[in-house]
């Protein structure tokens, strides 16, 4: 079991330069994903999920966003100091990325054909007809019917669900071993959402992919993810298996999340937002536990800087985790 993990993030800190100050959007993040394993990251809007995901492939907006510290080991290779040539191979070739907005993530002035073929050719040595064949297969694989016609289309001629399928196809084009999906279903309606989720699940199983699935919808996790990490205000506050997460939540924030989750099929509102108060913005974080202002169990020690406390389910960022 002590193989090199597929992805190992250690102490990763991501910052944005705002008015000359570097503000951390994600701080001292550590987690591992093994081959074939899927990790879900859950957190309220603005807690730094996208910042983290972008940082993993060094996709942060230049020059504002920047990796302030830490390591991202992909199969033991650190992505942070990596020369660009190697990074280009990893992007798409080793790690595929699925974006939140299928409406804008595709180039509006290029046909699907061009965009898919481009992605295929970047990582696979195929000639024209082989690439076309691969593209058709790929589209079929992501469940697009009549791929030949679809290839000729422009993004605006496709529905949102189809577009996200193309987005997934693009992410898979280079035959990656790890897939990062940043809220791939957020902007889709319920039926599409379910379809995409099951697609992801099938693909993951079939291809034996590692999956980092980012969402703020807790419910999606249960079926898709092996393990879950809860993010709050730039930090991972608790990590554990999906089962433990739902059955034995430790961190007060996790508990609040679950408590706020009525039934899975409940009203389609942002369920996390029903926790009282709101996530503090960048640079407004409390010195100690960042959840302290919203935590019903807050005590004086909570105002001191926190560190991870080992529990039977995994590390938890709460000084009172054993008392609760």
């Amino acid at each position: 079991m002590d193989k090199i993990p597929l992805l190992s993030v250690e102490n990763l800190t991501v910052g944005f330069t705002v008015n000359g100050h570097v503000l951390h959007a994600a701080e001292a993040i550590s987690f591992k994903i093994h081959a074939g394993e899927s990790l879900g990251i859950v957190g309220e809007s603005g807690c730094g999920k996208t910042a983290l995901a972008m940082a993993l492939l060094r996709l942060l907006p230049h020059p504002k966003g920047k990796i302030v510290g830490g390591h991202i080991f992909y199969q033991g290779e650190d992505i942070v100091p990596m020369p660009l040539e190697r990074l280009y191979q990893i992007r798409g070739g080793e790690i595929g990325f699925i974006f939140q907005e299928p409406m804008t993530a595709l180039n509006p002035v290029m046909t699907i054909h061009k965009q898919v073929i481009e992605a295929i050719k970047l990582h696979r040595k195929l000639n024209k007809s082989e690439a076309l064949l691969a593209a058709i297969q790929l589209l079929e694989e992501v469940g697009i019917e009549d791929p030949e016609t679809r290839l000729k289309a422009y993004p605006h001629e496709l529905s949102g669900g189809l577009r996200q399928r193309v987005g997934i196809a693009l992410a898979l084009a280079g035959n990656p071993t790890l897939l990062i999906a940043d809220e791939p279903t957020t902007s889709l309606d319920a039926s599409h959402k379910a379809q995409i989720l099951s697609l992801l699940k099938t693909l993951q199983k079939k291809r034996g992919l590692g999956l980092l699935f980012i969402t703020h919808e807790l419910g999606l996790m249960r079926t898709l993810c092996d393990r879950i990490a809860i993010m709050y205000a730039g930090q991972i506050v608790e990590t554990g298996t999906t089962h433990n997460f739902f059955e034995h939540p430790k961190h007060p924030y996790t508990r609040a999340l679950l408590a706020a989750l009525p039934i899975l099929t409940g009203p389609k509102k942002d369920r996390l937002s029903s926790i009282m108060g709101h996530v503090p913005g960048l640079g407004e974080w409390p010195k100690g536990c960042r959840f302290v202002d919203r935590c019903p169990h807050a005590q004086p020690p909570c105002h001191k800087p926190q560190s991870y406390i080992k529990t039977d389910t995994g590390p938890v960022l709460c000084c009172r985790v054993h008392e609760l």
Binding site: M54, L57, L59, P61, L84, Y88, Q89, I90, R91, G92, G93, G96, F97, F99, E101, T104, A105, L106, N107, P108, V109, M110, T111, E118, A119, L122, H123, Y154, H156, G167, L170, A171, A173, G174
Partner: protein, 334 residues
Amino acid sequence: MWAYIARRLLLIPLTLLGITLIVFALTRLVPGGPLERALMEIQMGGHSKGVSTSPLSEEQLSGLKTYYGLDQPWPVAYGHWILKIMQGDLGESQRYNDPVWDMVIARLPISLFYGLTAMILTYGICVPLGILKAMKPHGWLDKGSSIMIFLGYALPNYVLGSFLLVVFAGYLDWFPLGGFISDDFETLTFWKKIQDLIHHSILPLCCYLVGSFAFVTLLIRNTLIEQLAADFMRTAIAKGLSFKQAVWRHGLRNALVPLATDFGQNLTLVLSGSFLIETLFDIDGFGLLGYNAILDRDYPIVMGILFLSALLFLLGNLISDLLLAWVDPRVRFQ
């Protein structure tokens, strides 16, 4: 699409009819036409031998009216004009007595030369410069060139022209003081001719370029910067493209969309020219022709140039639209 083009092409004559009708009517209804100008020249010229300043008889006046083509009511005259246009005849200048068409043709090489060179230089320099600026915004190249561009933009091209003329043609004597070509142009060898042309055209070109230069460069820079921040650029990079590749393959095409929206108007370059620059550098182009025609009340020229430039403008619009549809598949013909 063909139906769309056909429909647009059909609209052109109608639009032209409207525009020319209005201007033709204006030339007739606004006080101070060619006849008044001729009368003024004589009368204000004062008393000199051989010229009587006593008022003209009705008969004489109507003779002059006939000469200046003012003897018919304007709708009739407009009808005649349109009929002639349909036969490809732009009429004859009232002051030069040359066919307007010939005068246009005579100025064509000059306008084409300046128009095309300015266009090639604008796009050839501004597009790459805009790209470079966008790829490293706020870098030294971006900032430095921005200062130059704004300076050039703020300066009226006439002022810039006077300055260039006095300094580079007058004081430093690097360039000739105006003209399109040298007087002995005909006798020169081919290469000398090219040299001569370039020598004469550098200063006027600078003036022609300042305005569009700033405009195109900043347009490219700003749209490209906007495009570089777009989601699909991130997708492209996440696929494994380098930044440069992503810019070339994905960013640029999108950044060219606003450029395409008025690219067709380059067609009007054929008839363009600034009368101020042409005056300054003694270039016999369309700017001067049109300006003088208006001052001269030489209405056949005014109408001829109006007709041609409106035609080119409309065609340019059509070309722009087609081009836009070509670069941006989201645009549809209705």
